[in-house]
């Protein structure tokens, strides 16, 4: 749903899920971050924005170590690319418990009013859980 709404030639969205049930480094760290990197390599140089969405269930500070590793690893990729693609593509991270909770922020990030926002992390988990 999120992909269909926002993955256009102008605005790329990469959705990843940090599965709290995983307890090994191959599946909890290597696999999701490898996927994030290879999906980033597929983003068009013409894209105005690239948003990495990480679906992570628990609140910050209460997540599993592998969820934390995945979330932080994606932040590392996004911060690096925000500098690498500065002036070309704005790169940000949205962390949310569900895709639905992430959608409004992802949409806002594509707006020109967010044109100065790059390399930022939007961790929506605390507010999203509060509103449930």
């Amino acid at each position: 749903m999120l992909q269909a709404l926002l993955s256009t030639s102008d605005d790329a969205v990469v959705v990843l899920t940090a599965d709290p049930g995983i307890a090994d480094a191959d599946q909890g760290l290597v696999a999701p971050l490898h996927e994030a990197m290879t999906r980033a390599q597929g983003i068009s140089p013409e894209a105005r924005t690239a948003t990495f969405v990480v679906i992570a269930g628990a609140s910050p500070g209460h997540e599993s170590p592998f969820t934390a590793a995945c979330v932080e690893g994606v932040r590392g990729i996004a911060q690096s690319l925000a500098l690498e693609w500065a002036g070309r593509t704005r790169v940000n991270v949205v962390i949310a418990p569900t895709q639905a909770a992430a959608e409004p922020t992802c949409a806002w990030l594509t707006d020109q009013r967010a044109g100065f926002v790059t390399g930022s992390t939007f961790d929506l988990r605390v507010d999203a859980w509060r509103s449930l």
């Binding site: 480094a25 191959d26 760290l29 290597v30 971050l33 490898h34 994030a36 990197m37 290879t38 980033a40 390599q41 140089p45 500070g61 997540e63 599993s64 170590p65 592998f66 969820t67 934390a68 590793a69 995945c70 979330v71 932080e72 690893g73 994606v74 932040r75 590392g76 990729i77 996004a78 911060q79 690096s80 690319l81 925000a82 500098l83 690498e84 500065a86 390399g119």
Partner: protein, 235 residues
């Protein structure tokens, strides 16, 4: 008992071994190849790029308890993402990232018996992103995230992460040579530009970064994350 140092043949690893020997500690030094022999050092070799290699390292230690573990191995993974080979991505995620977790899981029982600390060297690029370094940042950020979350729920083994800034090692200088080429400037010009970004105006000496790692490994109370960056990244 001894302190295990992985990547002991590298610039920072060798300095850590030297620092530990100066402090009168016995060292189990690990790397791909045996390094300089010295009294108090026992070398073991092995590949830590997969869980099987880490298990083999743990097995080679027998039943020995450890005073501490210092993870100092790592690889360069610099390069623009558009041309970055998937093999480099995979190797960085495994060697710079997952191997830290594999080692913790394989060695935590030996450390819990002694109260010893598990220290891993991340990077200032594990706290703040750097351009053309995404595969490295992915792994180094992940290690910091894992350590903070694990420390919050597990108290039997202290986990401490050192995030050093630019340390004058062959690994760093090699990466900077690549970056100078990418920028189309001389290596000297590139290093001058790099130095201008570091508030203290110089690179860290390997022994300074080593001293920070040894502090984390031996102090009774120490932070989970220590940034030693010459002021370049504040944490």
């Amino acid at each position: 008992m001894a302190i295990l140092v992985t990547g002991a043949g590298g610039g920072i690893g060798a300095a850590i071994v030297s620092e530990l020997l100066d402090a009168g500690r016995d060292v189990i030094a690990q790397d791909l190849r045996i390094g300089d022999d010295a009294p108090g050092v026992h070398w073991i070799t092995g590949d830590l790029s997969n869980a099987e290699g880490v298990a083999a390292l743990a097995s080679s230690l027998g039943n020995e308890s450890l005073d501490a573990v210092i993870i100092a191995h790592g690889i360069d993974a610099s390069g623009a993402i558009d041309g970055l080979d998937v093999t480099i991505i995979d190797r960085s995620l495994r060697i710079n990232g997952a191997s830290v977790i594999w080692l913790y899981e394989a060695l935590r029982d030996r450390l819990s018996r002694t109260g010893g600390a598990f220290v891993a060297i991340s990077s200032q690029a594990g706290l703040v992103g750097e351009p053309k370094l995404s595969a490295y940042c992915a792994a180094k950020f992940a290690v910091v995230g894992w350590a903070k979350a694990t420390s919050a729920v597990s108290r039997d083994v202290p986990i401490r992460i050192l995030c050093p800034g630019c340390t004058e090692t062959e690994l760093l200088l090699g990466g900077q040579r690549i970056r100078a080429e990418q920028r189309g400037v001389t290596f000297e010009r590139h290093m001058s530009d790099l130095m201008a970004q570091i508030p203290v105006g110089r690179l860290a000496e390997p022994r300074q970064t080593a001293a920070a790692a040894v502090y984390l490994a031996t102090a009774d109370n120490a932070p989970t994350v220590l940034a030693a960056t010459g002021g370049q990244v504040l944490y």
